[in-house]
């Protein structure tokens, strides 16, 4: 990756409009590379090396309980994962959690952003308050909601009047996991959308107001189209983040009641079954899935983010 950066640098260096052949420009470029090199090298090393090693491990039969039978097996681990129903069930539960939580977050996040942007007083207070869920350790949030909803400790049961523990059935478990995720990460969504809202010129709203547009019309006709890029970026971040969800379901259900996510499957295979070969195949598959999601998003949204960048 570092090499690629240098290569590109060499190619484009000859092209720019005002040939940067002066000593100062050269010194500047050299300084830039020196300043970036440590961070780039560390990033490449800490992610590149383990992912390559994961690919290597995924091509081996490597079970720590039977170290003697270690050997190359080609794509066998991948075939074993992809032909087992567990993987696909876990993909489905991960997708359910991702779609539900990101969808709800988008709606609540937009509302929160509007409150922060338009409130005639108390903006600072609201901003400070919503940063609290954002700053809280995910494991702590997971325990907080677990204790609130489970039957023997929680106050929610009497409030909503349910008699059986939600964490013993599928719907209840999904609901608690999704509620926890939404509470914890909506602020992030809201702040990104707020970042888009502050770029919407006030004059547009004033003009539309004079023309008699209602607040709702103004939101859907003016605000929403203009904050589309910010929303799409927020969705991209959150979708990728939600797809690798691990902490909340691990604490709340350990993957029981059909809430096992792909990350939990990877963890169980790698750490509980100490099957490094099979577990690494799952790890690599999750990595590929995340890349696919990112590519799909970026392809779909490339134009609007480019537009936004052009505007800023």
């Amino acid at each position: 990756m570092a090499e690629a950066a240098v290569d590109r640098g060499a190619q484009t260096a000859t092209a720019p409009t005002k040939r940067p052949t002066t000593d100062r420009a050269k010194a500047e470029r050299r300084l830039a590379y020196w300043l970036c090199a440590p961070a780039v090298l560390v990033m490449v090393a800490v992610t590149g090396y383990p992912i390559v090693y994961a690919v290597v491990l995924s091509l081996q039969r490597y079970d720590l309980r039977f170290p003697a039978s270690r050997g190359w097996v080609g794509l066998d681990n991948y075939i074993q994962v992809l032909t087992a129903s567990t993987w696909w069930k876990d993909v489905l539960s991960t997708v359910i959690i991702t779609l539900c939580s990101v969808g709800i977050e988008l709606v609540i996040g937009t509302l929160l952003a509007l409150v922060m942007h338009r409130a005639i007083f108390g903006r600072g207070m609201v901003r400070a308050a919503i940063l609290i869920p954002y700053g809280i350790v995910t494991v702590v949030a997971a325990f907080t909601f677990l204790y609130a909803f489970q039957l023997n400790t929680g106050f929610v049961a009497d409030l909503l009047g349910y008699k059986s523990d939600p964490l013993t059935n599928t719907t209840g478990s999904y609901a608690v996991i999704i509620i926890t995720e939404v509470w914890k990460t909506t602020p992030f969504m809201a702040l990104l959308i707020l970042g888009g809202l502050v770029l919407v010129p006030d004059e547009l709203h004033e003009a539309a107001k004079i023309d008699g547009a209602s607040a709702v019309q103004r939101f859907f006709r003016i605000t929403l189209p203009l904050i589309r890029p910010a929303i799409l970026v927020a969705l991209l971040f959150r979708t990728l983040d939600a797809f690798r969800i691990f902490d909340t379901p691990f604490i709340q259900t350990r993957g029981a009641n059909g809430t096992e996510t792909v990350s939990i499957l990877g963890y169980n295979t790698l750490i509980n079954r100490v099957n490094l070969g099979l577990g690494s195949a799952i790890s690599v598959l999750i990595f590929i899935a995340v890349i696919l999601i990112a590519v799909l998003f970026i392809k779909g949204l490339g134009t609007s983010t480019a537009q936004q960048r052009g505007e800023v």
């Binding site: 690629a4 383990p50 609201v126």
Partner: protein, 277 residues
């Protein structure tokens, strides 16, 4: 009702709802941690049966929790220090200097920030066990670079872009080299932004659970989130709910204080400099 008064009530309600949204879970976990052991299962929102600090005294009596707290602080602080140092250099270059490959660095950092940790914990587990980094501080600090560095580069480039260009140029006109312009002019101006980025990075490192669970096994390096997940309490017979709640409150309070102190700048950092403080 005059329009402004109605609007005021409307906003008061909206703000009230947001505040409740944010603080109810916090009040709940604090309340649970203060309940007497016999009241843990009373299913009341507030500790109406009386307040007790037993849960707090008992977690601080166990080395399991105190060690975890030290590990969490130390590992998060060192990760923050290293990544902010490296990220500041890179972010300065990205924000201020002309060079090819700038976009590549930013998009590369972004791509790495999106990296699923589960994809590398297995191979790190295998590698760390064979080279002796398993269950050590560096064994966690190194993988933390996968998310602390990109986050640092991103927020810092946003902050650095806000610093007025003219000052740097003025310094260079006065004969300063780019390096001098960096250390004498930009660095002092950048300090508040660097501090905020450090807070953000610290929160992320403090929050990690997956790496800490997989790559540690004892209180030599196990951090609080991982300890909490496997916390059994002082005795096997005691229900750990109260103690887990107390520990949860202990790790939450410092973060809330940090967030409240730096809230304005954190918002600016997260929205990539779009909000003018």
């Amino acid at each position: 009702m005059p329009r402004s008064a109605r609007e005021k009530t409307m906003w008061s309600i909206a703000i009230g709802v947001v505040l409740l949204y944010a603080v109810i879970p916090i009040i709940w976990i604090i309340s649970l941690s203060l309940k007497k052991p016999g009241d843990i299962a009373d299913r009341k929102f507030l500790p109406t049966g009386g307040i007790s600090f037993d849960n707090y005294t008992s977690i601080f009596d166990t080395s399991e929790f105190t060690h975890a707290l030290i590990n969490s602080f130390g590992i998060a602080a060192i990760s923050t220090l290293i990544s902010i140092l490296l990220a500041s250099m890179a972010a300065y270059a990205v924000a201020r200097l002309k060079f090819a490959g700038k976009a590549l660095i930013l998009s590369g950092a972004l791509a790495i920030a999106m990296f699923p940790p589960i994809s590398i914990v297995g191979s790190l587990f295998a590698a760390w066990r064979s080279i002796g980094l398993f269950d050590t501080w560096p064994g966690l600090i190194i993988p933390y670079m996968t998310f602390t560095l990109p986050l640092g580069i991103y927020t810092l480039s946003a902050f650095f872009r806000e610093i007025p260009w003219e000052l740097e140029q003025a310094a260079q006109v006065d004969g300063a080299t780019p390096w001098q312009a960096f250390t004498r002019v930009i660095l002092p101006l950048a300090t508040p932004g660097i501090f905020t980025a450090a807070v953000l990075v610290f929160i992320f490192a403090w929050n990690d659970f997956l790496f800490a669970t997989v790559l540690t096994s004892t209180d030599a390096s196990r951090t609080v989130p991982a300890t909490l997940a496997f916390f059994t309490g002082g005795s096997q017979f005691a229900d750990p709910t109260g103690q887990v709640s107390a520990a949860a409150v202990v790790v939450t309070i410092p973060i809330i204080i940090l967030v409240l102190i730096f809230q304005r700048r954190i918002v600016a950092g997260l929205t990539a400099g779009a909000v003018k403080g």
